[in-house]
Amino acid sequence: MSNIQALTGDGSVANAMRQINPDVVAVYPITPQTEIAQEFASFVSDGLVDTELINVESEHSAMSACVGASASGARVMTATSANGLALMWEIVYIAASMRLPIVMPVVNRALSGPINIHCDHSDCMGARDSGWIQVHSENAQEAYDNTIQAVRIGEQEKVRLPVMVNLDGFILSHGMERVELLDDAEATKFIGELKTQYPLLDVDHPVTYGPLDLYDYYFEHKRQQVEAMENVLEVITSVGEEFGKLTGRKYGIMEKYKLDDAEVAAVALGSTNGTAQAAVDELREEGIRAGLLKLRVFRPFPVKEIVEALSNAKHVAIFDRSISFGGFGGPLFTEIRSAFLGNDKIPATANYIYGLGGRDINVEDIKTVYKNLTSGKSETVNYVNVRE
């Protein structure tokens, strides 16, 4: 039974949260919060979920409340955006190191200075070393699908890590699109019950969370986090396959678009992939063998899969919607470029930093990037649509 609705990205994620029906949701209820929390709060008021909604006084407190609730054995979510994520920083790391499978949709927006509320990936990229799983969405449908799957991925016994579900600010969060929701009963069945592990509230089996951990075992605990991350890609793949059987929308780590015979390829995260797909179609009509790699998962970084997918291309444009000041290109670029070292076939790679603070990138802009790559007009690091 299909349930097709016109929903914004925020609305689709709020509906996923309604179907997940978390035990606890702690949110900061003021800007930079998004309509995700607002719509979810109305589901709580309407009695459509059993969630204990905690309105806290800051994002730092929101994540702190999530950590406490999750350690106690609850299924926990929150939602944030941009500077809100920045204010959570300290506790974001702690949630991952305590192995708490909190799910957090993040509406990707610029980190200000000067003030900007529009899309870029500065917020989530800043959290790339925090130990969270990071999944990106191309459209409102994927934002919904990813949120549902995130619960299963994070809670898997050999993972037990928090998950960030990224969706592009305004472009997806405020844009209304056609979205197909699961039936509530189907969603409940797919998501399943939380299997608690070492809950604080199990007083018969007392445990300690977050104690002092100095020279003796801290490093071993970090090593275990690495190990947990190494299990993630396999879990994402199997959950994505199971979701595909249920909905017809199968998910993996990445999606290849006309890539197998591509001479010139691009890699991107998020909503730009759909625009790039249209660029690839037009370039193919012009006789240019163009292809696209849509990366769904940024953390853990799928090194082997990316190298395999791009090995046959001669030129690869790597699109970054964030900047690393003083660094050697954007985060996606530096990781993909270094992933190829030691491989037999190494494509020529160039970085295209684009879309900061919501700057538009259209089909023509992307076609120009592909054309510049093959005609040798690209530098190592390039900036799309910026006044020099």
Partner: protein
């Protein structure tokens, strides 16, 4: 993607351009189309010029960029004709629909436009009559679907009932439906 229609809505903050872009999309969805509706978010506030957009297609819409060459432009506020380049990017065979007391020929002269089809309707008066308030968005959708046949009136009314019933009293919902029907009848061509 060739049969995708892009509509650009020009309004002032508070006139309901965002709601109009979403209502049209929602009604097109009821006809099993793929849709996008989004607005420009800047320092917009009550009375300031703003834009909203609707994309409608039989095929899935993958692009997520701005609308630069719309097939249809709808102007909710006649004073915008003097301050905003409302016909910017509109193609020769495009459609321009304006809420004004003027005739299409007068609008053509005022904007010095060569191509495109121009339609006008006095949506402010219709809204004032039917709703008691000069909010022109719903009658403008009525006029739009008359001149473009993008969707069926009954689907628009269905969508409008669904969306407005949650927020407004029944008489306001009825008033909006009446406004849609009147604008559908009263829109003028050249």
């Amino acid at each position: 993607m060739t049969d995708m229609i892009e509509v650009r809505w020009h309004g002032r903050g508070g006139q309901g351009a965002k709601t109009a872009s979403q209502l049209l999309a929602d009604a097109a969805l009821d006809e099993d189309m793929y849709i996008q509706a989004f607005s420009e978010y800047g320092p917009e506030r009550m009375g300031a010029p703003m834009q909203s957009f609707t994309r409608i297609s039989k095929e899935p819409i993958t692009i997520h960029c701005h609308v630069t060459n719309p097939e249809v432009v709808v102007v909710l506020d006649p004073t915008l004709l003097r301050t905003v380049d409302v016909a910017g990017g509109l193609s020769e065979d495009g459609t321009l629909l304006v809420n004004t007391t003027k005739s299409p020929a007068e609008v053509r002269k005022e904007l010095n436009l060569k191509g495109c089809k121009i339609y006008t309707v006095d949506a402010t008066r219709i809204a004032t009559d039917c709703l008691g308030r000069p909010i022109p968005n719903t009658p403008m959708i009525g006029a739009l679907i008359k001149v473009t046949a993008l969707i069926k009136v009954k689907n628009l009314i269905k969508g409008l009932k669904k969306k407005f019933s949650k927020k407004f009293k029944p008489e306001i919902v009825e008033g909006n439906i009446k406004a849609v029907e009147r604008a559908y009848e009263e829109v003028k061509s050249e």
